[in-house]
Amino acid sequence: MSEQQLSARQAQLEQMVHDLLKEARQQGASAAEAAVSNDSGLSINVRKGEVETIEHTRDQGLGITVYFGQRKGTASTSDFKPEAIRDTVRAACNIARFTNDDPCSGLADADRMATETPDLDLYHPWDITPEEAIELGRRCESAALELDSRISNTEGASVNSHGGLHVYGNSHGFVGGYPSSRHSLSCSVIGQQNGSMQRDYWYTVSRDAGQLESEFEVGRKAGERTLARLGARKLGTRQAPIIFRADIAGSLLRSLISAISGSSLYRKASFLLDQLGQPIFPAHVQIQEHPRIPGGLGSAAFDSEGVATYDKRIIQDGVLQTYLLSSYSARKLGLQSTANAGGVHNLSITPGEHDLDGMLREMGSGLLVTEMMGHGVNMVTGDYSRGAAGFWVEQGEIQFPVEEITIAGNLKQMFAQLQAVGRDEERRSSIRTGSLLIEQMTIAGE
């Protein structure tokens, strides 16, 4: 989309938000908020050098929340016709006739609305034709296939390019919107050795296609990662230190985010209740949110309620500084919104001094986890038990790949035992972390 088409389209969506809010008022709502989005893209998959699928995506959606005093109703649709908009508002109003008065419900406070929408450099359309994307995928996949004769099969390479607009508004008079894009290239191949197969993958993602890793790099890494897993065996059951490699370590931080999110706290469904101001990590740990990083994968100037985002320290010297709150959960807890309705925007843990090799040396003997399976995390108790694969390490050196094991512990203890953070920062996610070394967990195997 050209600059001009884009701003015309944005004006259209803003008008739809105004129409939705107006319709809600006409149907009797005392307050309302609406979001409209529109996204289009191309996904291609190449396998064994041939194009396998070409998908042209075009998604649109609108959602409206109406308030009748403290009663609330929401409705959404993918249909943008005027009568559908009317029907959707009517459906939301109908819902609100039956929900109960909730003293905490309502829009976020008017004085917290973002007053400007700075350009966060989130939109870089990629002018790539399906033919070019197919060629890119081919080169990427063959870089993996040519690496080693043990690479025996492939799931192919994928090229994805998506861009769109998102507009949010509410009856405080706030309307904000911005375009954003997201492009990625990934490759997944299969290796075979002694009759058993292993698969691994690599991907690169960015708001700007110019920032993507090269197709050769992606293919090569996918191949190397697959080869490294060949010959994996089980381990005996034991206690050992564990390093979560940077590319999967974000999952531990996601558990932290969930545990300090308002919705878990007011439901008492968190293992970190009443921990504000308490040390939950060792003193070397610093975790912060920077929502307005230019080009950031999680960047946003306002949250899903229009509240202006701001930089904040979440963990300082190991101590929990703030919960992550929407206006609703804030009211439930008697606090103020932290502009985290809809989640976090660019969370990072400050990198430590060692790269992965240095981390392995610091661990000495233990497990380097490179893949986790399943959802064995109990957020109420912090009990943690997940399937894993990775590498057994002795004296700081990788010995052999392992699989079909579990790692178990309790998140509260795991956080308290976070011995070191690597400087091998994973940058392909809105959650940035290096590898994480945990003092001790239980490994179950043979």
Binding site: I54, H375, G376, N378, T442
Partner: protein, 480 residues
């Protein structure tokens, strides 16, 4: 009551003034000399949900979704486009985009013929209208009261009620023109209990392709409330789970998630066509102990995973995957079946018009054996008895799978003794069923709660099994 194809026609085509000959025209445009097959998938769905929390009806949501997806296939290549607008011009545009997968050639000539539904495993009803709003929220209030009535340690109750009404119509180049109306209801109760500073959770629910009356019948929903509290209270007493390889007895019903993860995904046709599954090329081989027969059955009346027809218009069927321990067959959609020289088994499913269909499971379960469940427990000297599970996951290439127990007990000297904390169980798909040493006579299907994810697409599924004894499965506890 009108049949499904009439409802689908009236809901999807009539408002856009689309006639059967318009569909022929789109299909003809799609079919060029290099296009082997094509289909058009129309869908309109309505989804309504209600949530009770802290004793009040806090939230309700209504979602209206509709659109049409167009697919064109040439050899192993697939072109796909979709639009939210059901109208002839956007349909023709989507068709042009999709068929760009192959270069244009001569004109096709299809005549679609409406297929009357040959089977009906659920009625073409609209579950959103099966109760008044007052009745729906009344039911949620009852669940809240029932849960709190069970025990004073109950601190928090979240109860939800969801209904979906999905109308689909499929037109395909093989002449298929058929429709389906798919009701789906779901109810869930989640509780948090607290005693002496320790907190735990419990969750229970169910669902079916029925009206909301399903939850009132046999006091099913009240049963979910009681069950959620019971589980949470059991977990309050739980000790650390054991770590290591041991005998595991899986309860009947929902623990059948084992079959879904360990066997099911690996037997989906696409992975086997590409040779990426640990089960690839192993038809006829022994992959399970004698007596193990596993089927995928989309024809069970009213079940969450059942379908009258799949999303390619193929009638649902019961497919034998493993017969008396031997690998018998794969689950197929039309595309993969064609490339492998077989027939679709009615497993071509898609999350919506905006997603491509692929081979997916329906209701996957193991047939019962001879043993009394009590006899199975009594045969175990030391082991784990796992009766409730959260989710699972599988790596189909290495065959490694996990599933996470949310309610489990130790078995000591043939008796179920103490409850233990949740733990993940991990094993290898092609091996695990060879270690089944006893099969119970108590086949049960799950309560209708399963959702399967594959390539980012979610579809409702069912699982089931009798009580099973597995020698040597790795249990991921903390107590070595």
């Amino acid at each position: 009551m009108p049949n499904a194809i009439e409802i689908a026609h009236n809901t999807l085509l009539a408002p856009a003034s689309l006639s059967d000959s318009d569909l022929d025209r789109v299909m003809d445009q799609l079919l060029t000399s290099q296009i082997d097959a094509a289909d058009i998938y129309f869908q309109a769905s309505r989804l309504e949900s209600w949530v009770l929390e802290d004793g009040i009806i806090r939230d309700g949501n209504y979602n209206i979704e509709q659109g049409v997806g167009v697919r064109a296939i040439s050899g192993e290549k697939t072109g796909f486009a979709y639009t939210d607008e059901i109208a002839l011009p956007s349909l023709l545009e989507a068709g042009r985009t999709a068929r760009a997968i192959a270069r244009a050639g001569s004109q096709g000539n299809t005549r679609l013929s409406r297929t009357a539904p040959t089977q009906q495993f659920y009625a073409p009803l609209n579950p959103l209208e099966s109760m008044t709003e007052e009745e729906k929220i009344g039911l949620l209030r009852k669940l809240d009261a029932e849960a709190r009535r069970q025990d004073p340690r109950v601190q928090q109750v979240i109860a939800s009620l969801v209904a979906a009404h999905d109308v689909v119509l499929v037109a395909a180049s093989d002449g298929t023109l058929c429709g389906d109306v798919r009701p789906l209801v779901r109810c869930n109760v989640h509780v948090i209990v607290e005693a002496d500073g320790r907190r735990e959770q419990g969750s229970s629910g169910g669902g079916a392709r029925e009206s909301f009356q399903f939850f009132v019948d046999e006091e099913r929903a009240l049963g979910y409330a009681r069950e959620a509290v019971r589980q949470a209270l059991v977990n309050l007493e739980a000790e650390d789970a054991p770590a290591g390889s041991m005998t595991v007895v899986l309860g009947s019903g929902w623990p059948g998630i084992l079959l879904h993860e360990a066997i099911g995904h690996g037997l989906e046709g696409d992975f086997n066509r590409k040779g990426t599954s640990a089960f690839s090329g192993r038809i006829g081989e022994k992959v399970a102990a004698d007596g193990c027969t596993v089927v995928d059955d989309g024809t069970l009346p009213g079940r969450r995973g059942s379908l009258n027809m799949d999303d390619e218009g193929t009638p649902s069927q019961c497919t034998v995957l493993i017969e008396d321990g031997r690998l018998k067959g794969y689950m197929q959609d039309k595309h993969n079946a064609h490339l492998m020289g077989g027939h679709s088994t009615g497993n071509g499913r898609r999350e919506s018009y905006a997603h491509l269909p692929m081979p997916r499971m329906t209701n996957t379960y193991m047939l019962p054996g001879q043993h009394d469940p009590g006899e199975i427990i009594a045969s175990v000297k030391r082991g784990l008895y796992a009766v409730n599970f959260g989710g699972g996951q599988v790596d189909i290439t290495s065959g490694k799978f996990v599933f996470s127990a949310s309610e489990a007990y130790l078995i000591e000297n043939g008796k179920v003794t103490r409850p233990v904390r949740g733990a993940t169980l991990i094993g290898s798909g092609p091996e695990v069923l060879t270690r089944v040493s006893m099969i119970g006579n108590d086949l049960e299907l799950d309560a209708g709660v399963g959702t399967c994810g594959k390539d980012g697409q979610s579809v409702p599924v069912g699982v089931g099994q009798p009580t099973l004894k597995i020698d040597n499965l790795t249990v991921g506890g903390t107590s070595a």
